[in-house]
């Protein structure tokens, strides 16, 4: 695991390869476009390392198998796309309540409903605002390159174990299907997390129970408070965010995932034209970089939020910005991929308003 290698590999496959490198030995999933390469890769390679691959009968069954394997103390994961992630929401709620670690990958597609398989960032709300019932969060990481698909998958497993909570990788069909050169296997060996809460048979100890039923009001309250305090710790310690060319900027563009990747080209072109625009790219969507957005907008008042949806992350930006910040939203609905030219056009429109 310490010798790194470079590979030209597709986004979906690199997530699968990262999972193996991270020590995940149990995958339960179901085919759905545009992520079927993940189960296909793992069906071939997981048994080679002594792991278990199981194509379940549904997305519901697979999240519940993940629940069981996680309760048993294993590193485990599942993957799907929007409609399948919808099916998994009950399972995610249970896992958050049970404090069970696991990695859930959403290679999102267009929606809502059956939608299509083209580009979309329409699952932001679902990922970051619960999705399932009850007062919980999952950690959400948004890669914007194939290298990040690899790195954040490994980080995701580690975070899940550290905080005993589900972690979601929120990518999309663009990232899932593209091929880039990736450096793999360069991580430092980490000590496996001790899981004395896991279900292994109660030899030599009193029985462990994994449950989320709290009929008593006080116990329910105590449990919810415990989860809340955990999410506060996560908010304090685990924000990941990239700032590029912000120091001298007159305008800050905020985007995540594939939208951010495309916007980078627009920013470079704008800079060549003398437009001083920078980017704040949230990589952790929960915990959202509220503080970083607030800080940057203290001095740079003009913010342009770009998303491949009709307005989701922009709400988190709006609640985070400093007083007097001017937030413009440009959302391209699910369907046709954002283009660098149209984002450049929006940057120029915003710049005409700067200083007015």
């Amino acid at each position: 695991m310490n010798d790194s290698k470079k590979r030209l590999i597709n986004g979906n496959e690199v997530i699968a390869a990262a999972a193996i490198d991270a020590g995940c030995r149990y995958y339960f999933g179901y085919p759905i476009t545009p992520q079927s390469e993940i189960p296909e890769y793992l069906s071939l390679h997981l048994p080679e390392v002594g792991g278990t691959f199981l194509q379940a009968e549904s997305e519901i069954a697979s999240i519940n198998m993940v629940l069981g394997a996680s309760a048993a103390g294993a590193r485990t994961m599942t993957s799907s796309s929007g409609p399948g992630i919808s099916l998994k929401q009950e399972g995610l709620s249970y896992m958050a309540a049970d404090e069970l670690p696991a990695l859930i990958v959403n290679i999102s597609r267009t929606g809502p409903g059956l939608g299509g398989i083209a580009a979309s960032q329409g699952d932001y709300f679902q990922a970051t605002k619960g999705g399932g019932h009850g007062d919980y969060r999952v950690i959400v990481l948004a890669p914007s390159s194939v290298q990040e698909m690899y790195d954040l998958t490994i980080k995701g497993f580690d975070l899940a174990d550290t905080y005993r909570t589900p972690v979601m990788i929120l990518a999309d069909s663009v990232l899932g299907q593209m091929k880039e050169s990736v450096v793999m296997g360069a991580r430092k060996k980490s000590t496996p997390t001790k899981k004395d809460w896991a279900l292994t048979g109660c030899e030599g100890r009193s029985p462990n129970i994994i449950k989320s039923l709290y009929l008593d009001g006080d116990k329910s309250s105590e449990h919810n408070r415990k989860l809340f305090e955990k999410y506060q710790r996560i908010q304090k310690n685990e924000v990941i965010c990239e700032l590029k060319r912000c120091k001298d900027a007159d305008l800050i563009l905020i985007a995540f995932g594939s939208a951010a990747r495309i916007a980078k080209t627009s920013i470079e072109t704008a800079r060549e034209k003398g437009i001083k625009v920078g980017m704040l790219r949230p990589i952790s969507l929960f915990p959202f970089p509220n503080q970083q957005v607030k800080d940057i907008s203290k001095n740079i008042k003009d913010i342009l939020v770009v998303e491949q949806n009709t307005g989701q992350m922009v709400e988190d930006v709006l609640i985070s910005v400093s007083e007097n910040a001017r937030v413009t939203f440009y959302g391209k609905p699910s369907g046709n991929v954002l283009e660098a030219e149209e984002i450049l056009c929006q940057i120029e429109k915003c710049m005409n308003k700067v200083g007015t």
Partner: protein, 250 residues
Amino acid sequence: MKQVFKRPESLRDVSFHFCPGCHHGIIHRLVAEAIDRLRIRTKIIGIASVGCSVFLYDYFDTDVCEAPHGRAPAVATGVKRVHKDRIVFTFQGDGDLAAIGTSEIIHAANRGENITVIFVNNTVYGMTGGQMAPTTMLGQHTTTTPRGRSFLGDGYPLKVSELLATLEGCSFVARVAVNNPANVRKARKMILKAFETQVNNMGFSFVEVLSACPTNWKMTPLDALKRVDNELIPYFPLKIFREKTMPGTQ
């Protein structure tokens, strides 16, 4: 004189929350007896489901995981794939297994997962107050079939043991009842056999236990025993539906 009957060790010494005359208590005890008999208490990982048996973890002195409604066979699959040498069982009611959980039970059985499923069939939804179950008998009055279950609109009661017995993945499928001492003793043998199937890595084992729900049947516990004999057993016959000595491949 020596003691010939007492609480099994694997069953905690606490009162059951079940209604007077509910058969859940008998069935819990039979499962605990099998666990004691096979000396597997510290190897057991029980999977609780949603229904009157949701408090399984309060009664069995073993590791227990709660599963969402209907999903216990999937959760059990996840646990057993990680710990092949532990003994994993689910304990499910007729709503959990035969309504919302039909997909999970069929596919776990079809894959021949080396787990044991205890299915408590009392022809009604107990926990939620007496609504129709997939196993509710034709003509039976429930809170959602106030005029009696009718085939047109509600279908026939599901015979789960018969359905599962058609699957190659099943090693042991049996239906029993606990409405009289002789039936209880037969049920004990079948439940033990089911756990032995798993201990011997012989694949998927399933025992359906016909049970009474005096509260939601609106009967006395004693009349409920008679209903099991007169109405349930004729439609849900007590027998071994499938028994295979093929070794498991897990």
